[in-house]
Each structure stands twice: as C-alpha cells, then as structure tokens.
C-alpha cells in the first residue's frame, strides 16, 4: 500500500480539503456558494478524467450523467418523498446504468466518432426528458418549499448539500487515485496509449472501457441531484447544457489530462477566471467582457491544445523530471 505515501496524492487531497473547509470555518454563505461551484467543477473534472485522461476516450456529452442523475433524484424527492441521501444514490445508480448500456454500444467507436456519439446521447436525453411527463416535460420539476423542512429549513439544507459535495469531491480524489495506481488503471492507460496493442497483451478492452465509463459517470449522477436540490428546480435546458460538458473538458486540458492534480487545478483556475470575467465591469467596445466568457474558454482550449497539450501538471512533470516524485 505504499502508493498512499506518494506526496502527489496528499497535495491534491489537502488542496481539496482546504477549499472544502474554507466556508465551514468562516461560516460564510457567499464563500460557500463560490466553493460549491468550484468543488462541483473539480469533482466533475476528476470524474471525466477517468474516461478522458486515463482511458483516452473524449466524452463530449458527459453532462448527460449529471442531468439524468439530477432529474431522477429530483423526481424521487418530489414524487416519492425520498430522502436526499437516497435520491443521491438513485442519481448515481441511473448514471451508472446508462453508462453501462452505452458502454456496450458506443465504446466500440473510436476517436472523434465516440465524441460525436456522446453529444448525440446528450441531445437525445434532453429531448426525451422534455417530453417525459413524469419528469414534468418541458417545465421540469420544482421542489415544494416544504421539502426543505425535513432538513431544518432552506438555509440549513444548503449547508447539507454543500457538505455532501465536499464529501463527494474528497471521495472523487481518493477514487481517482485508487484507479490510477491499480492494475485496472494500468490497463486503462494501455488502452489510451494503443488499444490494439493492449488487446494483444491480454487486456479485455470492452470490459475495461465500459467499467471506466461507469466509474466516470457515477459521481456526476450524484452531483446532479445535489445541484438541483440546492437550486430547487430542474429543467431540460439546465440539466443537459452541452457547454457545461465542454467547460469540464477545458478544465481537464488546462490542468493536465491523466494526472490526479491536473483536473483539480484546472477546475479551480477555470472557475476563478470565469468568476472574474462574470463580475468584471470591463467593456470591449460597447460589449461587456462578461459576455465573452465562453469565447475565452474556447480560445483557452485552442491555446492549450496547440502549445501545451499535456496541460499544466503534465507539462511540469515532463519538463522537470524530479517533480514526478511530487506530482501525481
């Protein structure tokens, strides 16, 4: 078990723990809101990294797991009076089931075809949910105020949702590291490097890829429930926002795909930048800069792909060999 002595794991874990504790120590609700968004981004990026960074499959429509999980959770809370933990588990389970079903079919596709298929799945899910009456059709599901009473009122419920996100994010770090340092993880990275060679060496690639896809889908499914529980309502347009998927991709690429710390730093950096842009008063001509948030993330992605495809952590590890002992 000497992999747990690696400083790369502890650096990452402590960063996330410090971020998570900041609002709890200060008991400041506005810091909590900022951190909720950041931790959500971190755990989404860390999850997506399992299929994207470790296995080498670009899942463009990964938000489908977030959206579908969120929808099922809200449905369970609203119609079945389920408790939040149960709804969260339900969200994770439906995401895992969808990934399992998709794994068997679309993971046969490689490269750009797989990426396109995942976009198609996300759009199909949105259209389906928008026409699915039990999920409220196009208007979605709105939680009744009384739901929060069981959790000590809305204010307290927000804290509970936050604690849950902190817990899930810490779990995501441990889980991701566990995969990375396991035999299963070695198989995934072999698939990323050369799938045909991996098969010849005895890796049962269909099973490994499907499992990786399921692992990368579970936590987004759970996070969706927490996010929409906090929001109080869910609509098709909110749940399956494709650009949320793309932003998660940018975060991973920014920090370094296939590393443990990369998606964490990438998500943190991207969300800070986004926050700055959204609240800035700077204008370009007559247009406010905040309208350009997605333009900037697009340009950022382009720059990364062109100049530092390994991302920040990947670049550091390659450039300075001693850092490999410190950064995971």
């Amino acid at each position: 078990m000497k992999q747990w002595l690696h400083p790369g794991f502890w650096i990452t874990f402590v960063i996330v723990l410090a971020l998570g504790l900041a609002p709890i120590v200060t008991q400041n609700a506005s810091i909590r809101e900022v951190m909720f968004t950041i931790l959500l981004a971190i755990s989404m990026a860390v999850s997506l990294n399992i299929i994207l960074g470790y296995t080498g499959y670009v899942s463009f429509g990964h938000v489908v797991f977030f959206g579908l999980g969120g929808y099922l959770g809200m449905y369970l809370i609203d119609s079945w009076k389920a408790s939040l933990p149960l709804a969260v588990l339900g969200g994770g389970a439906i995401a895992a089931l969808l990934a399992l079903a998709l794994g068997a079919s679309i993971l046969r596709l490689r490269g750009a075809y797989f990426a396109l298929a995942t976009i198609g799945i996300n759009e199909a899910a949105r259209t389906f949910v928008a026409n699915f009456e039990p999920f409220g059709g196009p208007t979605g599901i709105e939680l009744h105020f009384s739901v929060y009473r069981d959790y000590g009122g809305p204010a307290q419920a927000l804290w509970i949702a936050y604690y849950a996100v902190v817990g899930i994010t810490l779990f995501a770090i441990v889980f991701s590291y566990l995969i990375k340092t396991s035999k299963f993880g070695l198989g995934l990275m072999s698939i990323r490097e050369d799938e045909d060679a991996a098969e010849v060496m005895g890796i049962v690639t269909p099973r490994a890829k499907t499992l990786a896809f399921v692992f990368s889908a579970v936590l987004p499914g759970m996070l969706g429930v927490l996010f929409f529980f906090k929001n109080g309502n869910v609509e098709p347009g909110d749940a399956f926002r494709l650009h949320f998927s793309i932003e998660t991709l940018v975060m991973i690429m920014l920090g370094g795909q296939g590393t443990l710390l990369g998606p964490v730093l990438g998500a943190l950096g991207y969300q800070r930048l986004r926050g700055l842009l959204l609240t800035s008063d700077v204008k370009i001509g007559t247009l406010p800069l905040k309208d350009f948030q997605l333009v900037i993330s697009g340009i950022l992605l382009l720059i990364i792909v062109l100049f530092i495809p390994a991302g920040l952590v990947g670049w550091l590890r390659r450039r300075f060999a001693p850092l490999r002992r410190v950064l995971a």
Binding site: L186, M189, S190, E193, A197, A198, E199, V200, G202
Partner: protein, 251 residues
C-alpha cells in the same frame, strides 16, 4: 512431442485480395518455427489471424488442444500466446517498466501489480533494458523498442511466442545479441514462431521453416531442405548460390 499450435486450411481475404489460401501447418511444443517469404506474401496476416486480430474466412486454428478460431486477441493472450509487432507499438507515455508490467498483469499469468513489478524487472534484465526501466517508453531508440516488445511478450510467460521481424533494422552486433536471447527463450521451454528476413539468423535458429508466397504455403522443412528447395529459391532466395552460401555460413 505434442502439437501446441495447429493451423488447418486457414484462408483470409481482404475484399478482392486473397491474403491467405488454405495455409496448414503444425507447430510442436518446444520448437522454433521460422516463417519466411517475400514482402506481401501474407506473413504478418498469418500472425494476425493466429492471434485473433483478424478473423479467418475459412479454416481452423487449434491452440493447446482448443479450437480458437475467431477468438479475440485478449482471449488468446490469456491462454498463453504472446507476440511482438513488426512495427513497434510501445505505450509511449508509460515507463519501460510499466510497459512490461502490462504483459505480466494481463497476459497468461494474470499477476497482481506488485508481482508484475518483480517479473518486469527480471525480464528487463534478461533482455538488457534494466538500466532504462524508469524511462518513458517513447524515449527509447528502435533497437531498444524491439527489446521492449520482446520483454512485454516474455513477461506474460507465454507458451507460444510470435516474433514478427525482431531483427529488422538492427546492426550485426545487435542481431547477435537478439539471436542469443531468442535461443535462451527457447531453452526455457517457450515455443516460438518467428517471421524473419535476416536469412543467416533464421537458418541458424529455426528447427523447421515454412515458406509463404502469395498467401500460399509453398514449402516446409528443415533449414537445409528449404535452402535447396527449387521453388523457394525461385520465389524468395533468388540466386541458388546465395542459398548455398547461407548454409556454409552456419556455425
């Protein structure tokens, strides 16, 4: 001696191209079988068909007494078949040691990670790559990458090893080193099927040789028989005197 691999009337087509036509041969346990033939004769296609990369259009392949026709490569790997690639396929972003660990982890013996590490170090020392264990595989030169291919295959502790032109592109000293390695592997009880263009080497190490030409098996026999076979000389060796020379050069 029991037959480890049996190839029976195997046929493979790619569209209009007849790549393999009813190829049949037996490979007894413990032997080195050489596979030679002109470029495009279907040698690598035969390898790909044996280890499941391609499904044959006809015929039957039996490995360790079991019909494995059309089985996936990972199935055959788990049964104890390992191979190297003519065009090396290192897992570039993994270290040399990790590359070899993949063979031990997922191949025939299905070892856990910590045991695979020990096997990898042992095999890397055997092929002379131990000094490079912590380097990224992508940073090796071509001769080292060929050794890595070999190490990865050996780490699986296979019953049958398919070697696809492991000597190509090596200088004479490197060839000698590799030939010694191949003989040592055979002495450990591993059966070997090898494709090779370096005639001197294949004539030296093979117990028997089969010859492919235009997807057909045109000859089978000991190295001496092959070197004096008229059809082989016409199709592949060219000059009859060269064949004689090859035999004289044998140690």
């Amino acid at each position: 001696m029991s037959v480890l691999l049996q190839v029976h009337e195997v046929t493979k087509r790619f569209g209009g191209l007849q790549a393999l036509t009813q190829v049949s041969f037996d490979l007894p346990e413990g032997q080195i079988l050489g596979l030679i033939g002109p470029n495009g004769a279907g040698k690598t296609t035969l390898f790909n068909t044996i280890n499941g990369v391609y499904k044959p259009d006809g015929g039957r392949i039996t490995f360790r007494g079991q019909d494995v026709t059309g089985k996936k490569p990972y199935y055959l790997a788990k049964m104890g078949m390992a191979r190297t690639h003519q065009i090396v396929r290192p897992l570039n972003d993994l270290t040399v040691r990790e590359n070899v660990m993949v063979g031990a982890c997922f191949g025939h013996e299905n070892r856990p990670l910590h045991e695979a590490r020990a096997i990898a170090d042992e095999v890397l020392a055997f092929v002379g790559l131990d000094a490079r264990a912590d380097q990224l595989a992508g940073s090796l030169n071509i001769a080292q990458k060929k050794r890595l291919e070999m190490a990865r295959a050996l780490a699986a502790r296979p019953h049958l090893l398919l070697l696809d032109e492991v000597l190509a592109g090596l200088n004479p000293a490197e060839i000698d080193g590799m030939v010694q390695t191949i003989l040592k592997i055979r002495d450990q009880g591993v059966t070997i099927l090898m494709i090779e263009h370096v005639m001197k080497a294949i004539m030296n190490v093979s117990d028997r040789i089969i010859v492919l030409d235009y997807g057909q098996l045109i000859a089978e026999g000991t190295p001496q028989e092959i070197a004096s076979n008229q059809r082989v000389i016409e199709a592949y060796l060219g000059d009859p005197r060269m064949a004689e020379q090859l035999m004289e050069e044998q140690v």
